[in-house]
């Protein structure tokens, strides 16, 4: 079964250090692309909330050629602990 999208975002960040918000969006396309929740605004909110509660951390920020903010994230120790505890075994 698919993971809940927010859970999958944590999993993705844990697998790729310094992953950017856009790379998260692209990586989720195949699994969640046909769902109404697959929107940049929703994914941004998840990323910012996960950062606020300390599961992921901001590792970089830059501007792209169109002056849009691009953020990069990595998993924190707390986030990795949570994944160790709660990630379903078929995803490990």
């Amino acid at each position: 079964m698919k993971l809940p999208m927010r859970f999958r975002i944590i999993h993705l960040v844990s697998q790729r250090d310094n992953i950017s918000d856009r790379e998260v969006m692209e990586a989720l396309q195949d699994e969640y692309g046909d769902e109404g929740q697959y929107k940049m605004s929703i994914i941004e909110t998840h990323l910012m909330s996960l950062r606020a509660v300390g599961i992921i951390e901001n590792t970089g920020v830059s501007l792209d050629e169109n002056d849009n903010l691009v953020q990069q994230f990595s998993i924190t120790d707390y986030g990795r602990d949570l994944l160790d505890k709660y990630l379903p075994s078929q995803w490990k």
Partner: protein, 332 residues
């Protein structure tokens, strides 16, 4: 150029994070205002037939609480359907954090909400609401024993203020009040225990769950437990079914709408602005409750009621938030 870009990017990021936290505060305040309104509307709905009858003094308020959570769960499901998140219910329930949400629902629903509804019914909304607003303080005490959290003197002072406020609010019931007034105050305290435990469990497992889905599951799980376990025990099912087709059902449905909105806002605020700050804004419902009860049901605002509500509010702010941080969001 590259250096300038870096500085500007950092400024933009800071602005975005600040706006995220501020939106969280907005959700926190909305959760307080709608929770106060929910309590007053639920009080009106459950003061009408068929909620005025029943085999025991518990049956009608519990049937009301069951319907309230059922409607809140239904409205939240419609909302999640609309935002394209409905598939997340099953996915979330297949994970452990999803099951922790269900366990939190047991404490928040059948214990917290039942105590709250019985409290409103027996002691009146303007008394029950400020007392149940003590739940963050109770949660802090439980966090010491269960999560092994350290509690500062400031927090203990806040807890003492809350309890003092609750005693002031509970002292000397107005004339003509329910004969079960003191039982109602006790049940409002039970609601605090349930919600405090819900908060502890939430902190434990809920960071990983989408708040919109967590609250949808919480309300639905709470409804199911009421319906299959609590109502049959309390002889509440006849009242539950009798409510369908009456005007009171629509009033409870409206209360459920505000309850669902309040919880949605609360769970979002927790995630966006931090537990301490979110709790502080959420419990502003003690003051909102007095305001809405005055506006809608013309409940007089006595000095003791207002004083107690203000004390509880101040105490909880002390207990759950560092006031300096509250004023200076940039130094998070």
């Amino acid at each position: 150029m590259a250096v300038n870009n870096g500085v500007r990017a950092k400024q933009m990021l800071e602005a975005r994070e600040l706006s995220h936290a501020k939106r969280g505060i907005g959700w926190g305040l909305l959760s307080g205002a709608t929770w106060g309104l929910d309590g007053v509307i639920l009080g009106i709905g459950t003061a009408m037939a068929p909620f005025t009858g029943g085999a025991s003094i518990y049956a009608a308020p519990l049937a009301g609480a069951c319907l309230h959570d059922g409607f809140a769960g239904l409205w939240l499901f419609f909302y999640n359907l609309f935002t394209g998140k409905w598939r997340e219910y099953i996915r979330t329930l297949a994970t452990k954090p999803g099951l922790i949400v269900c366990l939190a629902a047991l404490f928040g629903g059948p214990i917290g909400m039942a105590g709250y509804v019985l409290g409103i019914n027996m002691a009146g909304a303007s008394y029950a609401l400020p007392i149940t607003a003590m739940y963050p303080a109770i949660g802090a005490i439980m966090a010491v024993f269960i999560l092994k959290e350290r509690i500062s003197w400031r927090t203990w002072l806040g807890i003492v203020l809350c309890i003092t406020g609750a005693i002031i609010v509970g002292y000397a019931p107005p004339e003509g009040s329910s004969p079960y007034f003191h039982l109602g105050i006790g049940l409002s305290l039970l609601a605090c225990l349930g919600w405090g435990m819900e908060g502890v469990l939430s902190t434990y497992g809920m960071d990983m769950v989408d708040p919109d889905i967590a609250i949808g599951i919480r309300e639905a799980a709470s409804f199911v437990v009421y319906f299959v376990a609590i109502l049959p025990l309390a002889a509440g099912l006849p009242i539950f079914f009798a409510a369908f087709g009456t005007k009171s059902l629509w009033i409870v449905a409206l209360a459920g709408f505000f309850g669902g909105l309040s919880y949605l806002a609360w769970y979002r605020a927790l995630n966006m602005t931090g537990v301490g700050r979110a709790m502080t804004f959420n419990i502003s419902y003690a003051l909102w409750g007095v305001f809405w009860a005055w506006l809608i049901t013309k409940t007089p605002v006595t000095p003791a009621l207002l004083g107690g509500a203000v004390l509880i509010f101040c105490g909880t702010v002390l207990a759950t938030t560092n006031p300096r941080e509250l004023l200076n969001l940039r130094k998070r």
